[in-house]
């Protein structure tokens, strides 16, 4: 006999384990995602209000003096997790550091997530937790966000774009145009750790390493630095393209020459070995937690001392000097370990392993 005793309505699956297109629809699924994943870990009052915007106050100490520093950065990294970091930490550090390179105190971040359909919810949550933790360390608040879900195959797992706002206290004039002949070039630690750690984690090198990415928010160290060396001319984090490309950019902006001393350049043995196997040069490998400081000679000792006391700058060294440019073209030169002098050029395109 037919019976209604066990009849049930086929309820739609709740899809709490992976991202579905519906999570980007703007409807109930989107709300669920926001509440369950984002608002659990990002807790700024402006976010919980649920507006399309964040209305925030300038910091108390600003007293309407100084300027805003604003930056934006999109983050794509494969794999999403690697030794020393993940895309979430990268998305926070990347923008915090860009804002801080003006000498600003980073205050607020916004984050846009472009998620591939099918991404594990658990993975997304781990990344969000990592962002919250890194934002806390950096002392910034994530005050606005957005999520879009893209069809399977049209993005690679997850892209995160972050924008940041910071406050530049009055009197700080730090930018790429300000390097002057006679200045010292300081580097906060070893080159290439991030690039090689990520490459190795991809498993395409045919070898593994014990390296960790150097990824870190640098604003804390910068504040300490500016207390003792207020006349810093340039701050820059040598990310893609590495130290060589970054210094070339600064040389162009400031219309100066530079001379580096090869024997002072800090490189870990594992990074050097990996580079030599692949035909890379550590000077062109990406960093995510290193700081280049261009500072007048008289502030150099104080700057190095305070960096040495900070965990992210304990291996800081002077790597070279700013010189007047010879002729029209600003160039970066290097005194090699054996005493020769050569040009250090910008990275041409993609880093390519050489044939021999």
């Amino acid at each position: 006999m037919p019976s209604f005793a066990n009849a049930s309505c086929p309820l739609p699956l709740r899809h709490t384990d992976q991202i579905m297109i519906g999570h980007g629809s703007g409807g109930r699924m989107t709300q669920e995602l926001i509440n369950r994943i984002f608002l659990t870990h990002f807790d700024h009052p402006q976010l919980t209000l649920g507006n399309d915007f964040a209305a925030v106050l300038p910091p108390d100490f600003a007293e309407r003096q100084g300027r805003l520093s604003i930056s934006t950065d999109a983050h794509i990294v494969k794999p999403l997790f690697f030794p020393g970091g993940d895309i979430g930490k990268l998305a926070v550090c990347g923008t915090v550091n860009d804002v801080a390179m003006s000498g600003a105190i980073p205050l607020y971040l916004t984050a846009s997530f472009i998620v591939e359909e099918g991404l594990s919810m658990n993975l997304l949550e781990q990344i969000v937790i990592s962002m919250a933790k890194t934002a806390k360390e950096a002392g910034v608040s994530i005050v606005a966000g957005d999520t879009k879900v893209a069809e399977k195959g049209s993005v690679d797992q997850l892209f995160i774009s972050t924008s940041g706002v910071g406050w530049i206290p009055d009197g700080r004039q730090i930018n790429g145009q300000s390097a002057q002949p006679g200045d010292s070039i300081l580097l906060s630690g070893s080159m290439g750790d991030h690039g090689i750690a990520v490459l190795a984690e991809r498993g395409e090198l045919g070898f593994t390493t014990t390296l960790c990415s150097d990824m870190a928010p640098l604003n804390g160290m910068i504040e300490e630095l500016l207390k003792v060396a207020p006349h810093v001319h340039v701050l820059r984090d040598p990310t893609r393209g590495g130290v060589a490309t970054t210094l070339n950019e600064i040389a162009q902006q400031s219309r100066v020459a530079m001379l580096l001393q090869e024997d002072t350049l800090p490189v870990k043995k594992q990074v050097l070995a990996a580079c030599e196997m692949l035909g890379f040069d550590p000077l062109y490998i990406a960093n995510e937690g290193k700081l280049l400081v261009i500072v007048p000679e008289e502030d150099k000792a104080a700057a190095l001392k305070v960096m040495h006391q900070h965990p992210y700058g304990k291996d800081a060294v002077e790597i070279g000097k700013i010189l007047p440019r010879e002729g029209e073209t600003p160039r970066v030169f290097m005194k090699t370990r054996i005493g020769g002098k050569r040009i250090l050029d910008t990275l041409a395109g993609e880093l390519l392993p050489r044939i021999c």
Binding site: G206, G340, R342, I343, G349, L352, P353, R354, I355, C356
Partner: protein, 361 residues
């Protein structure tokens, strides 16, 4: 101090360079054949340190540079095909064919993959049985054994979806071509240490004797390079026309015989076209009859593609050491590493690219 640090020790290098200064009495033109050595000499700033009388000219030893334009066009034509995974050493991707490079093929959806050895390409073939996997087998004697080995393995495994696009060149015939030119200026050679670690240096004995000049087997670290130059200068000053091994920690006279055996089994000698120079008799290797099934040119029927080189580019003269990059009107103006016109600008090991990168004045 580790083994590699010893060969980079600034004090030892400085002492050796001092000895070069002491030994040099007259002007000498010395060619380093190998692109890796050109790169290393520039990278360490040797130009600044050597006596003015020593002129280093840079030979045709960059495998990426001398790979014929038409072979790159063939590679591109193959890589554009739908069922193909085209694998290559990284620096070949940037080298332009007559209209495109492999980067553009990849950007347009072609499956172009960078590998660091042909064995990796073979692995890709094994894990993608529904795809044809092609490896761009370029290089000198250094890459030949590993390239040949991949074909040997493919045959053993009865792999039907693996093939190679081959441009395999040899150093000694190129030296002969340079020395036979009536306008030749080269008085001594640094022979490439890695090539000699495979082939030994017996092939160089008749060249040194016939053309009456020293050939010095030289390594790649700063101290190796300094020692190689020192031995060459001493031989030139004392009129000793012989082959000297200045890289004995890696090279023996007979070379690596098991590597040579693999080359013999898979390849046979052929006349070979060199980009910027032309065809040099007996200067290359191609797959022999037993392994011709693995020849991508045959498998994909691209044998007919013919391409003409740039007319402005003087890379042929540069590869023979007869002109310096600065003497070319296109250098650094219309010809740059981002937009190379010819052989010597295309790879980071090419002479023009090395000058552009390290010595631009």
């Amino acid at each position: 101090m580790t083994f590699s640090e010893t060969y980079r020790d600034p004090t030892l290098v400085a002492q050796t360079i001092q000895k070069i200064h002491a030994a040099t009495r007259q002007h000498w033109t010395i060619m380093e054949i190998c692109g890796g050595q050109t790169h290393a000499l520039m990278q360490h700033g040797f130009d600044d340190l050597l006596p003015e009388e020593i002129e280093l000219v840079h030979g045709p030893g960059c495998p990426v540079c001398v790979t014929p334009l038409e072979l790159i066009d063939k590679g591109i034509a193959i890589a554009q095909q739908r069922n193909v995974i085209f694998t290559s050493y990284g620096d070949m991707l940037r080298v332009p064919g007559s209209t495109l490079d492999l980067f553009s093929v990849r950007a347009a959806g072609g499956k172009v993959k960078i590998v660091t050895s042909p064995i990796e390409a073979l692995q890709i073939a094994r894990s993608n049985p529904d795809q044809q996997v092609v490896f761009f087998a370029i290089g000198f004697e250094t890459t030949a054994p590993a390239n040949a080995l991949s074909v040997l393995k493919a045959k053993e495994l009865n792999l039907k979806n693996y093939s190679m696009l081959v441009s395999q060149v040899r150093v000694p015939p190129a030296i002969r071509t340079i020395l036979s030119d009536p306008q030749n200026r080269v008085q001594g050679f640094l022979a490439a240490g890695h090539v000699c670690s495979v082939m030994g240096y017996q092939e160089y004995l008749p060249l040194a004797e016939e053309f009456r000049l020293p050939i010095v087997v030289t390594g790649f670290e700063p101290l190796d390079l300094a020692l190689g130059i020192l031995e060459t200068v001493k031989a030139l000053e004392n009129n000793r026309n012989e082959v000297i091994n200045a890289y004995p920690r890696a090279v023996i006279k007979e070379g690596n015989q098991s590597a040579q055996e693999i080359i013999q089994r898979v390849y046979e000698p052929c006349d070979q076209k060199w980009r910027g120079i032309g065809t040099i008799p007996d200067s290359g290797w191609k797959l022999n009859a037993t392994f011709s099934d693995f020849d991508a040119e045959k498998r994909f029927e691209v044998g007919d593609i013919q391409t003409k080189e740039s007319e402005i580019c003087i890379s042929g003269l540069i590869l023979q050491g007869r002109k310096k990059p600065f003497e070319c009107p296109a250098f650094g103006t219309i010809c740059t590493p981002q937009n190379p016109l010819g052989a010597t600008m295309v790879s980071s090991e090419g002479t023009c690219a090395a000058y552009y990168r390290y010595q631009w004045k």
